[in-house]
């Protein structure tokens, strides 16, 4: 079975939408979901049959394009496919009450996003990475402006400007790499990169850091994130924090480990990550709008993952992968639940939670927030503990202090929200949640509890994945 299917099938679906449209709106929605379920099946099939491979498409190297399936890239492919499948299943039930305008285009966009994120992770050719970087960007800009209200369009414009600037720096780096090395294949670049003069290495690294810095939401290049989250629709935010940023994070550190295997700028990146986390949580403390608040919480978590990846050792990467999984699941739960609350109350101010009368949603939100916070028995705990442990082994006390301080600040605003939820007045009618939504939300929370109580189920796979990622299989 070919790994190209992961990119080809969602794109093919996009082209076949006009034909499917003749069979009615439901046909598009159901075929898209079925295709994603099929991709999920293919992913698990690869996992169980150990179908890890390097696959060449069309021409022989160094010119040919290749897709590399390893334990670590397969982990991300599975994460993206399952997030997207759950999103589609959730939306199938949501759309009967509040569908998006022009739905078939919406399905094209989410499938483009899926194809591009998977392509980013699998591709081992730097120009292909640029192309997928742009495809993921374009579909994310449109998704963010999809509701066509003035705040959605404002979010879309801001996202597009930062994205376009990021892509200039990325293509500049690629151009310099091609001029000095003469190849676009990641494996060949990795072999020759160390031999370059120091100034050129520094210039390329800075350009890559700026290019990806916008996309991995690192301080000070993350000023646009909160506006984009607030302007975009709540369901789409789940995709932004569970898929888009994770794909960019993986690619950035994949390139870093390949090009600079000895960790030349590691210390700088660790401080950058820890400082970003602290800055995000401090800014989050002042927010009253729920989507904006969770945008800052996403920034904090992503910065923690950034710090862990920047440590550049196996244990820290394993921790980062744990946080990536836990954060994706928790943020999906939160944004899915918030979408229901927004539909009912038509407001996203945090005071809204005071009038939330739904014990089920309260419990889901609480479990997700406790997991984000890293309370024992929840999924977020394992990752955070491992990060702190590997920082302690490296003797980086200031960083540990910064992370603990940031977590304390995070705790303040989560407990404020929890306080709102559990002192609510009961005069409103109970918010009705359909059984389909209940099943998905309960599944997500259960997943958080299972990972939190039995991390050993995953730890061996993640450890081998992190060894492969650090070893730089290209």
């Amino acid at each position: 079975m070919s790994s190209v299917l992961f990119v080809a099938l969602p794109l093919l679906f996009g082209f076949s939408t006009p034909i499917l449209g003749y069979f009615g709106k439901n046909a598009v929605a159901y075929v898209s979901t079925l295709m994603q379920l099929f991709l999920l099946y293919l992913g698990f099939d690869l996992l169980l049959n150990e179908g890890f491979s390097i696959e060449l498409i069309s021409i022989a190297p160094p010119l040919g394009i290749s897709f590399v399936v390893t334990k670590v890239s397969l982990l991300f492919v599975l994460l993206f496919t399952s997030v997207m499948t759950l999103f589609s299943l959730y939306y199938l039930s949501y759309r009967s009450e509040k569908p998006y305008r022009d739905e078939s285009k919406f399905f094209i966009l989410i499938n483009m996003l899926l194809a591009a994120s998977i392509g980013l992770v699998l591709s081992s050719d730097i120009f292909n990475i640029y192309v997928f970087f742009e495809i993921a960007g374009i579909s994310a800009y449109i998704l963010s402006a999809y509701e066509k209200s003035s705040s959605a369009l404002e979010a879309g414009i801001k996202y597009l400007i930062t994205g376009a600037v990021a892509s200039i720096f990325l293509i500049f780096a690629i151009v310099l790499i091609y001029i000095y090395i003469g190849s676009l294949n990641l494996g060949i670049i990795a072999q020759h990169f160390e031999l370059l003069p120091f100034q050129i290495k520094l210039l390329i690294s800075i350009l890559l850091l700026i290019g990806f810095g916008f996309k991995v939401e690192i301080f000070p290049l993350n000023f646009w994130v909160s506006d984009v989250y607030q302007g975009s629709s709540t369901l789409v935010n789940a995709l932004f924090s569970a898929i888009v940023v994770k794909a960019y994070l993986f690619v950035f550190f994949h390139l870093l480990y390949l090009f600079l295997p000895h960790g030349e700028f590691s210390l700088f990146l660790i401080y950058l990550g820890a400082f970003s986390m602290l800055a995000a949580e401090v800014a989050g403390l002042r927010q009253s709008h729920l989507k904006r608040l969770f945008a800052y919480s996403s920034l904090g978590q992503v910065a923690l993952v950034f710090t862990a990846f920047a440590l550049q050792n196996t244990q820290a990467i394993q921790a980062a992968l744990f946080i990536v999984l836990a954060h994706s699941v928790a943020k999906m739960g939160i944004f899915f639940a918030l979408a229901l609350i927004e539909k009912e109350h038509e407001s996203m101010e945090s005071e809204t939670l005071k009038s939330l009368n739904s014990p089920f949603l309260r419990v889901i939100l609480l479990i997700s927030m406790l997991s984000l916070l890293g309370i024992p028995l929840f999924a977020g705990f394992v990752g955070k503990l491992l990060v702190l442990k590997s920082l302690a082994l490296e003797g980086m006390l200031p960083i540990i202090m910064m992370i603990i301080l940031a977590s304390l600040i995070e705790a303040v605003y989560y407990f404020k929200l929890a306080g709102y939820m559990f002192t609510s007045d009961k005069r409103r009618d109970v918010l009705k949640v359909t059984w389909a939504h209940k099943t998905i939300l309960a599944f997500l929370s259960l997943l958080l509890l299972i990972i939190g109580m039995a991390p050993f189920l995953l730890s061996e796979y993640l450890f081998e994945a992190s060894k492969l990622m650090l070893g730089g299989v290209s």
């Binding site: 066509k148 705040s151 414009i157 400007i161 994205g163 151009v175 091609y178």
Partner: protein, 124 residues
Amino acid sequence: MFEFFNSPEVINIIVIIGSMLLFFVGLFGLLTQKHIIKIFMSIAIMETAVYLFFIGSLFKLDAIAPIMKVADDTSKFNDPIPHAMILTAIVIAMAVFALGVSFAIEYYKLSGKTNIDTMNEMRH
């Protein structure tokens, strides 16, 4: 009189200095302009500068077009990869700007604003 402009070193230097100047013109515009369309134009100028830099610095004066039927001696060929890359990049950039301008028009219709400083729908 202008013979020395034909030497590859001089052409390379002109291309590099010129494209870097263009890059900073774009960057200056990006940082100082407030109108959304002007910001898109500045970004487009920066991108063009990168494309010129790439094509110009790998350009050889005496090389020929890389077509196998014309000549068998591949050492005389110009490298086709930069051109293929830049063509792809131009297409992508055009798509992004078309999208951006359409966002800007829709936004103007809804709110009547074109200045990026007054775009603060959400900070209240």
